[in-house]
Amino acid sequence: MSRFEIYSPEGLRVDGRRWNELRRFECRINTHPDSSDGSSYVEQGNSKVICIVNGPMEPSSKAEMSTSKATLKISLNVTPFSSIDRKKRSKNERRIQEIVTSLKRTFEQSIIVNKYPRTTISITLHVLALDGGLLSSITNAITLALIDAGIAMYDYISSVSAGFYNNTPLLDLNQLEESDVSFLTIGVVGKSEKLALLLLENKIPLDQLESVLAIAIAGGHRIRDLMDKEVRRHGDLRLSKLANK
């Protein structure tokens, strides 16, 4: 057990949040307009992620090409300075590869892939700082970068983690909480209750799963709204520049 009180009797968590509060969520799109077709920067609490999308473009090798749909290529780089222990994480680490595969399969369903046959969409991710919620911040960053790149998608995929501790569900865990609390990460499709992604790695009582999922979905919708706000803000900005000319 850690020295920290995960959830105090007064209903406060290590960083002073209530059980149903998200961390500060900041996002920007079009952060690298020159070097990429779509880019985004997401801060979820102290986790910071950059995502760069290039494509749809011609695949580098014919073997990657599909005649019916676009292929996704995701490369995830968790920088060594992102976490306290400065561990070099290899791209071939199985955990990283699993995340990459999961993301690929998630976005293959939400991008209208059959609109772009014989092309590749390449997604590059850099995790600058990691304070819990790796998968969720990456998912949100990809969604925003894909929107910036103008790639046809069915809807937002917003992702958030939620844990369960002492009979209370907790929303959006940070690193400290993640190490002590069993948690799940979901990817919600737009404003629906449909889950594109659901990963749980520790034990949660079956009967409590529903309450954890409910708070996670609510959190996912909130994040969707925040992302939508940023997309619209950026859209307005561009529109105003257009009007000036």
């Binding site: 699993e98 595969t101 998630t106 809807d155 889950l195 992604l197 659901l198 009967d207």
Partner: protein, 307 residues
Amino acid sequence: MAKGIEVSINEKSFVFDALKQGIRLDGRKLEDFRNVDITLGDEYGYVDVRLGKTRVVARISAEISTPFEDRPFEGLFTVSTEISPMASAMFENQRQSDDELLISRAIEKAVRRSGALDLESLCIIAGSKCWSIRADVHFLDYDGGFIDASCIAVMTGLQHFRKNDITVSGEQIVIHSVEEREPVELSVLHVPICVTFAFFNPEGVEENIKGESNNEIYIVDTTLEEDLLKDGVLTVAVNKNREVCQISKAGGLPMDALTLMDCGRKAYDIAVELTNQIKKLLEADYKRRNEGIQYKLRAENDRITVE
């Protein structure tokens, strides 16, 4: 171009039409798990699981090793799951496909990370000696359901396995042979059982994402043919104590949260059934073995009389 299994449009629409009517190709209901046939070997920790045509063999072994520096009080437990072309020509040597990765990660998470095996009980001398338990899973034949079958195999194997008894005196460890002392069983804390669901979307992606109908079909324990046609997959590992140890829905067809909850509950029912089946089998095996010992030790041994 990689040569694989080609599924025709005809098969696809046939399977979909059948599922809409609640029929599966092998005559099961949508929510039926295949019959699991578990065979225990003569040696401790050898388990042969057959799930329909799928066949998986798990072999548990133990050796003495040094613990990790950052975890001096814990033993080691590794699960090796390499899928060779022996199981199916789908799998290639030396190259791991995405599916294989997800299969081995799911087994690893369900069995190892859920703490099914009490690692602290494997410690012999803190920081210098511990037991290292290894589970080798061999995939002999493939007809879907690798995760489910190998999870059953490993968990049965861990409960069946006995490691040699040891005596510690100072820094010295004496390992007693099986003949000398009765070997001891591993401390298995709980038995997670994986159940895999496959999702089918009969109405197209647009309907799935935007529509209200929620007409997606889910089925339990897919065969290879169904596996090739599925739109999404969900693996739930759950134990008898109603604890969910692992859920993995790595992308695929977006599914309604309530449907996923239903899957969880179905998985629990199946897990209870399977845990009981494993328990009964182990009890029968224990009885058989112990009868054997009494038979050996009894006074009225069959003696060879020389005339």
